[in-house]
């Protein structure tokens, strides 16, 4: 190699070294710069992230921690002396509530039936108007009624007792989590001790993360060769459940640790423990996720968490390891083994004595065979509740605010309504009628409270709710409005005013209208009450024409029809489309002496902490003359006594005076009956969803379902007292007033001053 080349080469090496040195120094300076950048950007970033996490965690933990579904309750069963109710009806109500049959039990939520007596240990319940305490009661019965209620502790007689109300449904948030919040001090000590013994022994000593716990878990897992024990503290589990996904990444682990420390830094141990107890997952009930000890206790045992025993606490705590694997309904043996293992552990740790553990091990699992369903038993009624509550609350409030909604649904009436409709539809199915559907609405006329809603032949189906959404022609159900409009003019009309039931026409050409009677005959001159009781179309249409369509429409509006009313003469015979619920509103003032009360399904709403929020009190408005209504009611009683609804006399006791009206529409598409006793109004519709002829009249379809519903309920007869200003006269078949008690005459009410003036002798035809 030439010196030149050597020198060149050396120079090159020098230059290379220099350049390497330069590169090195450039790299290290880059590194230094990068480190600096990292230090100056990442540190603030991570600090910022920690602060943001801190804010988020605190915000969620202190704010609305959980979205709580609104819980809807039925009207509570009120028990009192003289109430007409059978022991078996009370037992069935108690069973629906999850009360257990047990003799001599000290346990709340238990009952015992023997020798026509029921002893009940009731559960306490907070209603919107006060707390109903737990009591031990004895109920005695006589002649189908409660004869006496005795407080077993004091031996005193008791006036009125209300049981805890039946939950009839919930409005769930989209994620489907269901929980009942509990406070730590409401829980039995044994539950908390069991939980801590199994899940986190040093909970009150660590700062959120327990190195000892991790080490213990590591050893256990190494020994077993697989993961058998978790090292997570309760706080870590809560952090994971509340704020994180189920992913198993390092990043998630870091976040979990950070959130754990934040929780421990800001909150007391008891607050963390309470949150954990309300958060933990206990399994799935179809689309509903059971969270928290409060809900789990109801779901598995049918009682409050405050009543959890040692054995039940061990069962629940045991489930946390694998809610599905240790599900006591699906895998009772496995759940029992796990429970007993936990009881052994409790004894080993000195938390309970050996004898306590042994006794608890002997206890059966004690779970309810059938869980209280998250699905509503009365979806049609729940629809009505939703519609009414959305007038005052936003949709989100229903699924997140934990509202407690107290409704007017009476479970005994609801089940009678469902059964009555189903039985009649089955009979008609067997006689070859196809695709029949139906709906029932039952109302208390004097308060407007809705006691039952059935939306179809399958009352559990959540689809089309016919009671609220089937808008159908009402046919002759419209007629009471016409007769009321007439009877409100006593100077022109009384119940015995003769109406002409002879063919006539209204209008010309295409608008020509010629009403016909259902039997295609005309009946000559008939007294007004018979036109109503026999549902004669021609005489009613004539009356409508005399009254004028405006007056009839106005009467319908006054009674509560809110839909547009088309002012054609065909209105007189029922060319008006309403839902069964709207018919119930229209008939409510007729059944309530002319006083309208808007139908309501909700009595009150309470917040998640038991604070009363809204009350829906009774509203009354006089919309019709009570005197004219009394006459109309008499005419509608006549419908049952001798008119189109006389079949009811074979279904109801004679002593129960009821009134009503049948309705049938063209080609037998709709079958209606709306009727009332002194204390209940029920509307039944039957027909087909496709509006094809169902082949039923009001009498052959809906009326008989109505009879079944009402005959299953205790009823007050219609009042025999007439309002002031209504008098009764004896009237013979010619419509003449006779002396008292003629065999061919009958007593008919009149508005004072409108009765016939002169009196004829018995047997006289004037």
């Amino acid at each position: 190699m030439s010196p030149n080349r050597k020198s060149t080469s050396r120079a090159t090496k020098r230059s290379a070294r220099r350049s390497t040195r330069t590169r090195h120094s450039a790299t290290s300076s880059l590194l230094r710069r990068a480190l600096r950048l990292l230090l100056f950007t990442l540190l603030p970033l991570s600090l910022f992230y920690t602060l943001w996490l801190d804010f988020t965690v605190r915000d969620q933990f202190e704010g609305r921690r959980w979205e709580l579904p609104a819980r809807v309750y039925a009207s509570p069963l009120e028990l009192y002396g003289e109430r007409a109710i059978r022991p078996d009806q009370i037992v069935s109500s108690l069973q629906q509530l999850g009360y257990r049959s047990r003799s001599g039990s000290e346990e709340e939520g238990s009952y015992y039936l023997s020798n026509n007596r029921i002893t009940i240990h009731t559960r306490p319940f907070r209603f919107w108007d006060g707390v109903e305490p737990s009591r031990e009661l004895k109920l005695s019965f006589r002649d189908g009624k409660i004869s006496r209620i005795t407080d077993l502790k004091s031996g005193d007689g008791v006036g009125v007792v209300r049981l805890d109300p039946l939950p009839i449904g919930s409005f769930y948030p989209l994620h489907g989590e269901d929980r009942i919040l509990v406070q730590l001090d409401q829980l039995p000590d044994v539950l908390v001790r069991t939980l801590l013994t199994v899940e986190d022994r040093s909970f009150y000593d660590h700062f959120g993360i327990s190195p000892l716990g991790i080490a213990r878990a590591l050893v256990a897992n190494l020994r077993a060769g697989r993961a058998v024990q978790g090292g997570s503290t309760l706080t870590q589990q809560l952090a994971k459940n509340l704020f994180l996904t189920r992913q198993r990444t390092l990043w998630r682990k870091a976040r979990e640790a950070l959130i754990t420390l934040i929780l421990e830094f800001h909150y007391q141990k008891d607050e963390i423990l309470e949150a954990y107890i309300n958060e933990v997952y206990f399994g799935q009930d179809q689309r509903r996720a059971i969270h928290g000890v409060g809900m789990a206790s109801h779901f598995f045992f049918g009682h409050d968490a405050s009543q959890l025993t040692l054995a039940k606490s061990a069962l629940l705590v045991g489930m946390l390891k694998g809610p599905s694997w240790y599900n006591p309904r699906k895998n009772p043996k496995r759940a029992m083994e796990r429970r007993n293992m936990i009881l052994d552990l409790m004894a080993q740790q000195g938390e309970i004595s050996e004898s306590e553990a042994a006794e608890a091990r002997r206890t059966p699992l004690g779970i309810l065979e059938r869980p209280p369903s998250g699905r509503s038993h009365s979806p049609a009624f729940l629809d009505l509740v939703r519609r009414q509550i959305l007038r005052d609350y936003a949709k989100e409030d229903l699924t997140s605010e934990g509202l407690q909604i107290f409704t007017t649904l009476d479970p005994l009436v609801q089940s009678a309504a469902e059964r009555g409709l189903q039985q009649r539809i089955r009979e008609l199915d067997r006689s070859g009628k196809e695709d029949l559907q139906g709906a029932v609405v039952v109302v208390r006329p004097d308060s407007g409270e809705v006691e039952a809603v059935v939306g179809g032949r399958d009352p559990r189906a959540t689809g089309f709710n016919r009671a609220m959404n089937a808008v159908r022609q009402i046919g002759s159900l419209v007629k009471p409005a016409l007769f009321l409009a007439a009877l409100e003019q006593p100077e022109r009309y009384t119940l015995v005013t003769k109406l002409r039931d002879r063919p006539f026409e209204v209008g010309q050409g295409e608008n020509r209208w010629r009403p016909r009677n259902y039997d295609m005959r005309s009946h000559g001159d008939v007294p007004l009450y018979r036109a109503l009781s026999h549902s004669y179309n021609i005489s009613t249409a004539r009356l409508g024409v005399e009254l004028g369509i405006g007056r009839v429409a106005n009467t319908l509006k006054r009674l509560g029809v809110e839909r547009d009313i088309h002012r054609y003469p065909s209105l007189f015979l029922g060319a008006l489309e309403l839902t069964p619920l709207e018919v119930a509103q229209f008939y409510q003032p007729i059944a309530a002496g002319g006083v309208r009360s808007p139908l309501r399904s909700i009595r009150a709403v309470m917040g998640r902490n038991g604070e009363p929020l809204n009350r829906y009190p009774l509203r009354v408005e006089e919309v019709a003359s009570s005197k004219a209504i009394a006459l109309l009611q008499w005419g509608m009683e006549e419908v049952v006594r001798s008119g189109t609804a006389r079949y009811l006399n074979t279904m109801l006791a004679q002593s129960i005076r009821v009134a009503g009206k049948t309705g049938t529409t063209n080609d037998l598409r709709d079958s209606w009956f709306a009727g009332f006793s002194g204390d209940r109004l029920a509307v039944v519709w039957m027909g087909r969803d496709d509006n094809k002829p169902a082949g039923l009249t009001g009498s052959s379809g809906a009326l008989r379902a109505w009879g079944r519903v009402m005959s299953a309920l205790p009823l007050e007869p219609l009042a025999a007292i007439y309002p002031e200003g209504v008098t009764k006269s004896w009237i013979n078949p010619d419509g003449l007033k006779t002396i008292y008690g003629c065999s061919d005459a009958r007593e008919i009410p009149f508005i004072e001053g409108s009765e016939p003036e002169s009196t004829v002798q018995c047997g006289s035809n004037g």
Partner: protein, 137 residues
């Protein structure tokens, strides 16, 4: 006037139907115990204390148990009067009247209440008529 008279009325129809008689001593608990006895005591107390909403809630509950009791409807009418719902008060007092056949004292109180509510609504002629009816009993 109406109010003062009505507030101290004993709610039970049993007492109302026997005007002038001394209030009965509290009954021993027997099978004939009026199931509404305790509720009615609470209603009276709430009315005396001026707790109208509480009285209203209790009255509605009592009426669900026995809707034929004229005295309860009267008390509810009275609550509505005190709350300023005069039209409702009139309607409820009329309902009470329909059920209070043979109870002249209660009918008188109902007519007084109707008169007071009509007065408050500015219906002086109607009020006069009602006062007249109250005097008849």
């Amino acid at each position: 006037m109406v109010v003062a008279k009505a507030v101290h009325r004993v709610v039970t129809d049993r007492v109302i139907s026997e005007p002038g008689s001394e209030p009965k001593p509290e009954l021993e608990p027997t099978d004939d115990l009026d199931p509404l006895h305790d509720l009615i005591e609470k209603i009276e107390y709430a009315l005396q204390q001026g707790q109208l909403e509480k009285a209203e809630v209790l009255l509605e509950r009592a009426l669900r148990i026995d809707s034929q009791r004229a005295g309860l409807w009267h008390d509810l009418a009275q609550v509505h009067h005190l709350q300023g719902s005069y039209r409702e008060s009139i309607t409820l007092a009329k309902r009470s009247n329909t059920l209070s056949v043979g109870m002249p004292a209660l009918q008188e109180q109902n007519w007084s209440l109707i008169a007071g509510s009509r007065e408050a609504l500015g219906d002086h002629a109607g009020a006069e008529l009602a006062w007249g009816r109250a005097g008849q009993h």
